[in-house]
Amino acid sequence: MKKTILFSLLAVFMGSLVFTGSKTFADELSGYDIALKVKNANKSTKRIVWSKLTVKEKGKVVEQRTLVLKTFRKDNKDKALFRFTSGLKRDVTMLSIEQEEGKDNIQYVYTPGVGRPRQIDSSEKQNNFEDTDFTNEDLGARKIEDYTYKRLGDETLKIGKQSFTCFVVVSENKNPNAKYPKYKTWIDQQSLVPVKIESYGKDGTMKKTGVSAAVKEVKPGIFMSYYVYAKDLETGHESIMTVTNVVMDPSDLSENLFEPANMSKPWKEK
């Protein structure tokens, strides 16, 4: 039960199982149950996702760059690699390796100028990844046991042209010093994709918000969002990630790639 969780907008890329229980069963689920189901949902053994990242400053587009995400799942543990493939951050690569219960996930960042991977400390989980509005936690550092969960009443959201009947779960960080001690998350009941999230600061006010939309089934029973939006409400900084391509179960994606020593390896995916 006490597995790690990628309970975030981006974590939808990494799912595998789909929860399709009856409404009665769904009504009985606690916040923790839902978080656990999200963690285990929409998983695939191997996946490659091409995305375009748009960064906005005060509503104005300041930069666009491309990003490739690769995931690998084995023994119910996820490994993920993110690489910028254009812009000044070109070839900056992040590796996230899920650990067992009670241990923080391990994350490394490889920067070409440094020439070797560097570890990221777990207390930096809620820092933004490079200059995006996505935190390291969003990219795979979040652990299910880091939070307590409370389910609120279900709600319906319409995002873009899609409507979602959602579980609503408030998760509170057990660490009182967390940068974002509370999240409120709307999870689509059909796909188990988190489609809206609000991040709250220590003062209780909302600091960040995000939605994921254009949810599609990429393989029977596996859903993912093709559009992810995050906004820092204090700075007005916005990040929009649009998926441009997905390849499921690529035969040439090896687990060996998900090693710190291999983070600098060239990829054919651009």
């Binding site: 000044l88 070109r90 020439g115 560097r118 207390s123 279900d154 391509n245 090693e259």
Partner: protein, 489 residues
């Protein structure tokens, strides 16, 4: 009648409220969130039926963004002017770096080449022509064969060709990172990895999962680090200039014999234990950074740069510590081959050591560092590195390998403090190096401005200080400010 109507309205209202409240729990009220989703992603019919029946949504399983080759480059241009009295520093330095990567299944072919132009040199007197204005350099050109396995032995690599090696987990000062020669004609103007020169090598690596990896490198061809020798060049060591003023001429670097037995061998074992990444390393080969000895100091007066074969035992580690701090350390123990200068001014020692101006000593070079993102405030970054070295059997009057002042034990602090702001379009940075033992320093303030997705300019300075017989103090009259352009393509 009116009462009945009012009662009916009240009951209807209560019932409606009750129903809405119940529906609220199962998704009755619909919040509409407007997002600017690209049309090609927004083609669903508006209900929550997500399952695709035709599998035809755009961008799925269409490997349109794969390339078996990748060509990219980086241009860096500097314009600089001195800030001290005689303004001897004024230069333009441009560097174009091109990289080509080709992937053929299990084989990767990689080439990195540099073209450089600079106006730093007036080097007619440089016998090695190290300072020509235009130069081309093949930094790397190798083939990497990789095989992966679903066994305990998980990966095998074989790399053959011109390669650059990056050893160590520390930052600017990396005691174990001596395998690759460096272009030091511009001193520390460029980052350590950009200064490195390639050398032919055969490298093999085998990995046993993520916990254990071995690396072996054989380098049969030698290449020396390059630095300037003439007085006109900006970063020529003062001790070399003084010797030339005293009538010494400088020979070309004496390289090892071209024999297999002179090959360099490097071994490294990487491991991860209890969340700590660490490695042990061993190197038996020539230190690419030349030492200098005096030939016939009373007669022909020649200064002979040469490579010395060293034996290095190394250790490095990195682990997350606490409060967002990552700690890393590195140590190199030279059991053989490390040389130090002996000045003729200290005649007793000089004559006792054979009057060639060098003496070999065991040497320990170590560093311990930490870094912290969001240091005190968001987007501030701090990197601190404490460096210490120790000369075993030290004798009073020894000089460093650069001919500058040294103590038995030397301590230095290297730091980098930066803060990004304005939507990360600006960065203010203050880095530097202060040696507590010699009290010399180099300060590097800089201001970065992002001009576009792939372009930035940096306005900064290199400020040197200390006595003129110290490593950094010898350039104290050559402090300069600069404007640097960096563009990726």
């Amino acid at each position: 009648m009116k009462k009945s109507i009012l009662l009916f309205i009240l009951l209807f209202g209560l019932l409606s409220a009750s129903l809405f409240a119940e529906e609220g729990n199962i998704g009755g009220n619909e919040e509409v969130i407007e997002v600017d989703i690209p049309d090609e992603l927004n083609h669903t019919d508006g209900n929550s039926q997500l399952t695709q029946t035709d599998g035809a949504f755009p961008g799925s399983n269409q490997p349109v963004s794969e390339k078996t080759y990748d060509f990219k480059g980086k241009f860096t241009g500097w314009i600089s002017g001195g800030v001290k009295e005689n303004h001897s520093t004024y230069f333009n330095y441009d560097r174009l770096q091109l990289e080509l990567t080709e992937l053929y299944h299990e084989i990767t072919f990689y080439v990195k080449a540099n073209a450089r132009y600079n106006t730093i040199y007036l080097n007619d007197a440089d016998t090695d022509r190290r300072g020509e204005n235009v130069r081309f350099d093949l930094a790397e050109a190798y083939v990497n064969y990789e095989k992966t396995f679903d066994t305990a032995l998980s990966q095998f690599n074989l790399l053959i060709g011109q390669q650059v090696f990056k050893w160590g987990k520390a930052d600017e000062v990396r005691p174990t990172d001596i395998l690759s020669p460096q272009d030091l004609t511009l001193f520390a103007l460029e980052d350590r990895n950009d200064r490195k020169l390639g050398r032919f090598a055969l490298k093999t690596a085998i990995a046993f999962g993520s916990a254990l990896r071995f690396e072996g490198i054989w380098m049969p061809i030698h290449r020396a680090s390059e630095s300037t020798q003439d007085e006109q060049s900006l970063f020529t060591q003062k001790s070399m200039i003084e010797l030339q003023k005293n009538g010494f001429s400088v020979n070309s670097t004496q390289m090892p014999e071209k024999k297999l037995k002179e090959s360099d061998i490097a071994l490294k074992m990487y491991a991860n234990l209890l969340g700590t990444d660490f490695s042990f390393s061993f190197y038996n080969g020539y230190d690419p950074l030349p030492f200098s000895k005096l030939l016939d100091p009373m007669g022909l007066k020649k200064l002979q740069p040469f490579l010395s074969r060293v034996t290095l035992w190394g250790l490095d580690f990195e682990r997350v510590a606490f409060a967002g701090i990552v700690v890393r350390g590195e140590a190199a123990y030279f059991s053989k081959g490390m040389k130090f200068g002996v000045s003729p001014e200290n005649f007793a020692l000089y004559s006792a050591k054979g009057m060639d101006g060098v003496d070999g000593k065991r040497f320990l070079d170590a560093t311990l560092g930490l870094d912290k993102n969001d240091f005190l405030i968001a987007k501030a970054y701090l990197n601190l590195q404490y460096s210490v070295n120790h000369i075993f059997d030290y004798e009073e009057g020894l000089k460093s390998r650069y001919g500058t002042k040294t103590e038995k034990t030397n301590h230095a602090l290297i730091w980098n403090l930066s803060y990004e702001f304005g939507g990360l379009n600006y960065k203010i940075e203050f880095s530097g190096n202060y040696n507590f033992s010699q009290k010399d320093f180099m300060l590097k303030p800089a201001f970065h401005i992002k001009m576009g997705a792939e372009t930035k300019i940096i306005l900064g300075a290199y400020l040197f200080g200390g006595d003129e017989d110290t490593l950094l103090g010898q350039y104290s009259d050559k402090s300069f400010g600069y404007l640097k352009l960096e563009h990726l393509f």
